[in-house]
């Protein structure tokens, strides 16, 4: 295919603007224009050279830790909230704050508190979100996170202050500041780190006055603040993958890659690298040719291969990441 990009010498209108830019900047503008006009071909050309648009290697070199973006975690930065965390995966940035309030427990479960996760995708994080009610994506994210966090990591009975009378409700609010793909992993990590960072004041329920009294640790040292009772074994970490054109496995997809994927795979591991849940939406790698050939047994082994590959990639990445997450959030 001949070059589709006009050279600056033949395009008189471009030359007046480009005279202020260096050659490298001109090339960058051409590439950005091409990406806007033909996003699929842009990605295909990169993947042919075994590299992804942001410079990461494709999953051919599976052992390469650079296949994943850099993860930065910062906890406790919001002083007005009992727990908070800021997580950055590449350019995707999520900030999570936890507010603790007192409420009456449900009649059916008098010994349990509440954990209410919520994700907000405001218009500032990406041009694809407009101001208004939560989009479908925000709702799906909130529901998926609710499912993962409710898996037993935090014992809800530890949030009870007085059975049937008073309990803590933790509002876990995550806001995405910059959307560059793989928001689920980043948000889960932010919520988990924020939960580990939470420090609840000592609370007593006065049955005569029917109210709960909280004491600051500075005023009464005999009633210290306490951390949440989190089961370290069950702390989840999520790893997302995408499959492009049925043949390229892309771990940790960026926003531009996400729109072009035909298969999404999500693997959630606990602290001991055991699989908590796996989901694959779409056919696996190398599946389309199998449909043409009509071979009966081959497709199932290929899907199993893709998922098995993803699980082992996730386990390797988790070994690297768990140290970083634990070091910064205690």
């Amino acid at each position: 295919m001949a070059s589709v990009l006009p050279s600056s010498s033949t395009n008189p209108s471009a030359s007046s603007v480009n005279s202020f830019l260096s050659a490298a900047e001109r090339e960058a503008i051409k590439a950005a224009t091409f990406q806007r006009l033909h996003p699929r071909i842009y990605l295909e050309r990169f993947l042919e050279e075994k590299i992804r648009p942001d410079g990461r290697p494709t999953a051919e070199n599976i052992e390469d830790p650079n296949a994943w973006r850099n993860v930065e975690v910062n906890v406790g930065s919001i002083t007005t909230a009992p727990g908070s965390a800021l997580v950055r995966i590449g350019k995707t940035t999520v900030v999570c704050g936890i507010k603790a309030e007192i409420c009456e427990p449900e009649l059916d479960n008098p010994d349990e508190g509440f954990l209410v996760p919520n994700v907000d995708l405001p218009a500032l994080c990406s041009p694809k979100f407009k101001p208004g009610p939560p989009t479908e994506e925000a709702q799906v994210l909130s529901e998926r996170l609710n499912e993962v966090l409710g898996n037993g990591m935090l014992s809800l009975s530890s949030l009870c202050i007085c059975s049937g009378k008073s309990a803590w409700v933790l509002y876990v609010d995550a806001t995405v500041i910059n959307y560059d793909g793989n928001v689920f992993d980043a948000t889960l990590l932010a919520m988990v780190c924020a939960l580990k960072n939470v420090s609840l004041p000592h609370a007593d329920f006065d049955p005569e006055l029917h109210r709960t009294v909280c004491t600051r640790s500075e005023t009464d040292p005999s009633k210290p603040a306490r951390k949440l009772a989190i089961q370290e074994d069950l702390v989840p970490l999520a790893f997302s993958f995408g499959v492009f054109a049925g043949s390229h496995l892309l771990p940790d997809p960026t926003a531009s890659e996400e729109t072009l994927l035909d298969t999404y795979i999500s693997v959630i591991l606990d602290a001991h690298a055991q699989v908590l849940s796996v989901s694959q939406l779409g056919a696996g790698v190398d599946n389309y040719e199998a449909l043409d050939q009509g071979v009966n047994n081959l497709p199932s082994s290929r899907e199993a291969d893709t998922l098995a590959r993803c699980i082992s990639l996730a386990k390797k990445r988790q070994a690297v990441l768990i140290k970083k997450v634990y070091n910064t959030s205690t």
Binding site: E136, S142, D233, L234, G282, A283, Q293, G294, N296, A308
Partner: protein, 264 residues
């Protein structure tokens, strides 16, 4: 391990097609489909049809759980419908629960997927590249806790013996030879119910669970095919009876053979 399913075509009058499906003896979901119909400008796509899925529980307004399931259904339907055939149109699904669903389990999601497929077959106006059938599988430990088996539709099992559950959806599509129908798994969801124990999910398990799900999914597909054949046979018979009453010399047509050879 043949699944016990209830399936039927429904006759809602204002939509293009409808169907009911349920695992067990009563239908769990009623799905209606309208399409290809007019699409609103914001949702229009220039080169393919837009697919919208609305999931409605039996009680209450649809919440985030319904939204999540609707997204899964939309992705699954996108794989079986040839969306490039009708650009700038809308194919709208409404999935109504007929039983109370306090929590959307894997079995209910499988029933929803099958119900959508069944309504697509009833419509006939939407080109499809295959048929997607789904079943739910659970890994159940035996009574002494030593072995574990894979069972489908484990509602009757004791909850504490279920170690992990999941749902698998397969796309069945005709290939060159009419005897073998290739199938590929288009949706997998598997999670362990007792995290932290030694019996957590391993990679090889997924392959075994998927193999256990393939045959029951194929049987669901066979049931769907026989339901369509039945419908066609009744229609042909009615036409024959009408023709016979009009003409004095009615030639007897062998209707049965045609249906059996009809490809779906």
């Amino acid at each position: 391990m043949s699944p016990n399913v209830t399936l039927s075509f429904d006759s809602l009058s204002r939509v293009d097609a409808s169907a009911r499906f349920g695992f067990g003896s009563c239908p769990q979901y009623l799905t209606s489909i309208s399409g290809p119909i007019e699409v609103r400008l914001a949702a229009e796509q220039p080169s393919q049809a837009t697919i919208e899925v609305h999931v409605r529980p039996l009680t209450n307004v649809p919440g985030t759980e319904s939204k999540t399931v609707a997204v899964i259904l939309k992705e699954a339907i996108q794989m079986e419908v040839i969306v490039e055939a009708n650009p700038r149109t809308l194919i709208q699904f409404v999935v109504q629960a007929l039983v109370p669903t306090p929590k959307v389990t894997d079995e209910l999601v499988a029933a929803m997927i099958n119900c959508c497929t069944l309504s697509l077959l009833n419509a006939g106006s939407i080109p499809m590249r295959g048929v997607i059938c789904a079943v739910s599988v659970a890994r159940v430990s035996s009574v002494n806790g030593e072995e574990s088996m894979y069972k489908i539709q484990p509602v009757e099992e004791h909850p504490s013996r279920i170690q992990a559950t999941g749902c698998f959806a397969f796309l069945f599509s005709d290939s060159y030879s009419s005897n073998t129908y290739s199938s590929s798994c288009v949706w997998t969801s598997w999670r362990s119910l007792h995290p932290g124990s030694l019996k957590a999910v391993e990679e090889s398990e997924l392959a075994r669970a998927r193999d256990a799900a393939q045959k029951p999914a194929r049987e669901v597909w066979e049931r769907m095919k026989s339901l369509v054949e039945e419908g066609e046979r009744v229609k042909r018979k009615e036409t024959w009876i009408k023709d016979a009453s009009h003409s004095t010399e009615a030639k007897k047509m062998d209707v049965g053979e045609e249906d059996v050879n009809m490809e779906i």
